[in-house]
């Protein structure tokens, strides 16, 4: 994935399209010519396709797999089944994936991630980065308008306002924290937005595309007292229409959307159907068009259903074991804090059977790995130093080396989710077979989260959304005094990793060299697995055969329906 070099302006998507090459082919050529680009930065259709036709059920969901779907048609209502209810429509405040799915359809992000796992522009058309990476000048699309009732053209001033809004300390936005290091932001002119950093940040775009992007809302609407949590006003392809909580949320097509071609459908209706079997029934009966979160154990039910397409792709999502390397908390910890020893952490990684976990938890629909990035991501390194199946002997040897005999470890999990519960149970069995004395504790999700936050565990099962780059992942590895204990990874390699990460990686101008530094950082993180990665679960959606121009995005919360249309 080519990233912008300092002093160079990124390319625009239209340039790419005119070559007749796919973006990936083009990016490869551009990269080999030494012209770094953030390919596909603007104007790309929502599903990552160059012609707007989309994946059409080919089962891979990549840009190169366009189906023979014909000309897009306008009109119709697209019904989407969600696995949980909606709770908060404000993209600056929300944390739940279902809410983020709506936000993705309702707003525009500054940057986002495409189907090839590359960071591309959203509202940002192109970027100029200065020599040392301390200033990012973003050129904002012209002709972008806000939704009614506050229709007017978006300017760079509005983006600056949104930055002010998110960083307002009284709003406690979860999006606020990762921006430490930004010195200033301002609107240079109507369509130029500038961010300055204390130190070079050559991957800021991925930071902004990470954790589901940075949506822009109407300052006028907010100043008029409208609550973005319940009636968002943004610039996205679909306008918020109505929300009957627990029942359905309706978005309608924004006729003045800045992209000429899409959206195509008149209306999108999101319906929460918590029961997995219920979602399957609805798609098989044709009562909904797209099902998000197809339960892995029910996937086979769709095999014989010709009218339903199952679309599966690699995802950024990570299932892992978070291992507590600190002595900051005494509560609910094993005697002598075994997990503070690197050998014990490695023993845990050797003890678990990742292959079996993938088979049992995901029916094989996941990739067992020890890496943070899935195959297909430019950050992916094929580095798996520990056993992928269980190796209890190697684990015992490491325990001996650390001076532990049957160390007690608390393992916290949540029974509220099948994947987490099963991961906890299999891990406990694996650990016991490798000479540990695990104490598996299953909690309700809120309590599990509380315990984790308080650092009251030795091992915690965990899932992460993942990230498009190592810099974006940096948000999960920060160290600050105010952070909860489980963030504070003060272990042997801590200083080295942070130094390589921040001081060397983020300021390295040569993209290849930067990737090489980050690969080294990752190898160190895998060697001493504070987060012991188990697998990347596949992202799976199911959709009706009448749905065209849709393919599954590597991020579950990015339901890419911008260029989707219904074959009526």
């Amino acid at each position: 994935m080519p990233k912008p070099n300092s002093g160079e302006s990124i390319l625009e998507y239209d340039d790419v399209e005119s070559t007749g090459l796919t973006r990936r082919q083009y990016a490869t050529i551009v990269s080999s010519l030494g012209v770094a680009s953030l390919a596909g930065c603007a104007g790309e259709n929502g599903n990552g396709d160059t012609d707007g036709n989309g994946g059409n059920g080919n089962g891979t969901g990549t840009d190169d797999d366009d189906g023979d779907a014909g000309e897009p048609q306008d009109g119709g209502t697209l019904e989407v089944a969600l696995s949980t209810g909606l709770s908060n429509l404000d993209g600056h405040m929300q944390t739940a994936p279902a809410d983020q799915i709506v936000t993705y359809a309702n707003t525009d992000f500054l940057f986002r991630v495409d189907h090839d796992m590359e960071v591309v522009g959203g509202l940002v058309e192109s970027v100029d980065v200065n020599d040392d990476g301390t200033q990012w000048e973003m050129n904002i699309h012209e002709g972008v308008t806000f939704h009614p009732p506050h229709e007017r053209e978006l300017t760079a001033e509005d983006i600056a306002w949104n930055f002010d809004h998110v960083t307002d300390p009284e709003r406690f936005s979860p999006r606020n924290k990762p921006w430490a290091g930004i010195a200033d932001w301002h609107a240079e002119d109507d369509h130029t937005f500038v961010i300055e950093f204390d130190e070079g940040q050559l991957e800021f775009d991925s930071y902004m595309a990470g954790w589901h992007g940075f949506p822009i809302y109407s300052p006028d609407a907010i100043e008029d007292g409208m609550d973005m949590q319940t009636e968002p006003v943004a610039t996205g392809p679909f306008v918020f229409e109505d929300w009957v909580t627990g029942e359905q949320l309706t978005l309608t097509r924004f006729d003045d959307y800045w992209h000429d071609e899409y959206p195509y459908v008149d209306e999108v209706v999101f319906r929460p159907i918590p029961d997995g079997s219920g979602r399957m029934t609805e798609i098989m009966q044709g009562d909904v068009d797209i099902v998000v979160d197809v339960p892995f154990d029910l996937l086979s039910q769709l095999e014989d259903d010709d009218a339903t397409v199952v679309d599966q792709t690699d995802s950024f999502a990570i299932l892992d074991l978070l291992i507590n390397p600190t002595e900051e908390t005494e509560e609910n910890r094993g005697e002598d804090y075994p997990t503070t020893h690197p050998e014990v952490r490695q023993a845990i990684s050797e003890a678990i059977d990742r292959n079996a976990m993938v088979d049992i938890i995901y029916n094989g629909q996941a990739t067992a790995t020890q890496n943070y990035f899935p195959e297909g991501s430019p950050y992916h390194i094929d580095y798996n130093p520990h056993s992928m199946g269980a190796d209890p002997d190697a684990a015992r040897a490491l325990l001996d080396e650390a001076g532990f005999d049957e160390p007690e470890v608390t393992l916290i999990s949540t029974a509220e989710r099948d994947d987490m519960r099963e991961l906890g149970q299999i891990t406990a069995e694996n650990l016991e077979a490798a000479g540990f004395a695990p104490d598996l504790q299953e909690y309700e999700q809120t309590v599990w989260s509380d315990r984790m936050w308080a650092g009251e565990f030795d091992i915690a099962v965990e899932d992460l959304f993942g990230a498009p780059s190592l810099s974006a992942l940096r948000g999960f590895w920060r160290y600050e005094e105010d952070d909860p204990p489980f963030f504070n990874y003060m272990y042997e390699e801590h200083e080295t990793i942070y130094q390589m990460w921040d001081e060397e990686g983020l300021t390295e101008e040569d993209p290849e060299e930067r990737l090489s530094i980050f690969a080294e950082v990752q190898r160190m993180m895998v060697d001493d697995p504070i987060r012991c990665v188990v697998c990347h679960p596949d992202q799976i959606t199911a959709y009706n055969e009448s749905v065209q121009g849709y393919s599954t995005h590597p991020w579950g919360s990015n339901l890419d329906i911008h260029g989707t249309w219904l074959d009526q």
Partner: protein
Amino acid sequence: MSILSYAAKRLFVSIWVLFGASILIFGIVHLVPGDPARVTLGRFADREAVEGVRQEMGLNDPLYVQYSDWLVGTLTGDWGNSLISNQPVLTLIVERFPKSIELALFALAIAVVISLPLGIMGALNRSTKTDQATLFFSQIGIAIPNFWLGIMLALIFGRYLGVLPASGSVAFTEDPVQNIRHLILPGVSLGILAAAVLTRYMRSEMIDQLNKDYVTTARAFGHPKKRIVWKYTLKNALIPYVTMLGMQFGFLIGGVVVIETVFAYGGVGQLILNGLLNRDYPIVQMSLLILAGTFILVNLVVDIVYGYLNPRISY
């Protein structure tokens, strides 16, 4: 004591019961571990933000202050906002409560339609195959968990036969036919248990009445069987049945929590469940208080109606 003064006395007692229920609900909801501030901010939030949100939500105030604020708000119509979505609690409950009541009433109607004839048939054909079939149905009905029944019905009628919708709800005012179609599967799932309980109750009450002396006397006087059953015994058997009906309605109101989740039926049950999972105190407290109030009110009405049905009772 006149029926009016009896009703006034019962109402006064009911208010105290509701007050007690409010303390219980508040206490239990706040005793459950889990921090709504962290739910709002996600598990990667820092301490400062969590503390700030806790302060904003008023969660750092002493519990008695939080309780009295809630109580005053409840009485003055200021039910506050959801801690998660920031939507007014009043609006959320007004949107959803009628749907749950509609579902519970529909389930109750199903229970009555099934239990009355089955109970009577069982009693009139005691120890026959018909009676055994009635008992078998009530045993099965009580034993089957209603969420499992719901899933099975959704699979059979929703997926394989495709004759009824397996999820969602439609307002009666919007489309009466679709409204009924969406009610059938959750209503049956919910109503079967009540039907089973009421069938057994009806059967035993009818048998009890049929064994009474006045029935023997009526037979001796040559009254036709139909008149004895429909005019004398059924009337008397219905008196305790109505009381049981009131109690069952209360249980059905509680049962909607699970069934609404299975059928993605947007009632107050789902609101409570999501509220509990998210530790959305204002939503859970108010919804539970209203359910408790409904239960108390139904029992009050049943008690008063009982007086009308049974002339031997004087207040």
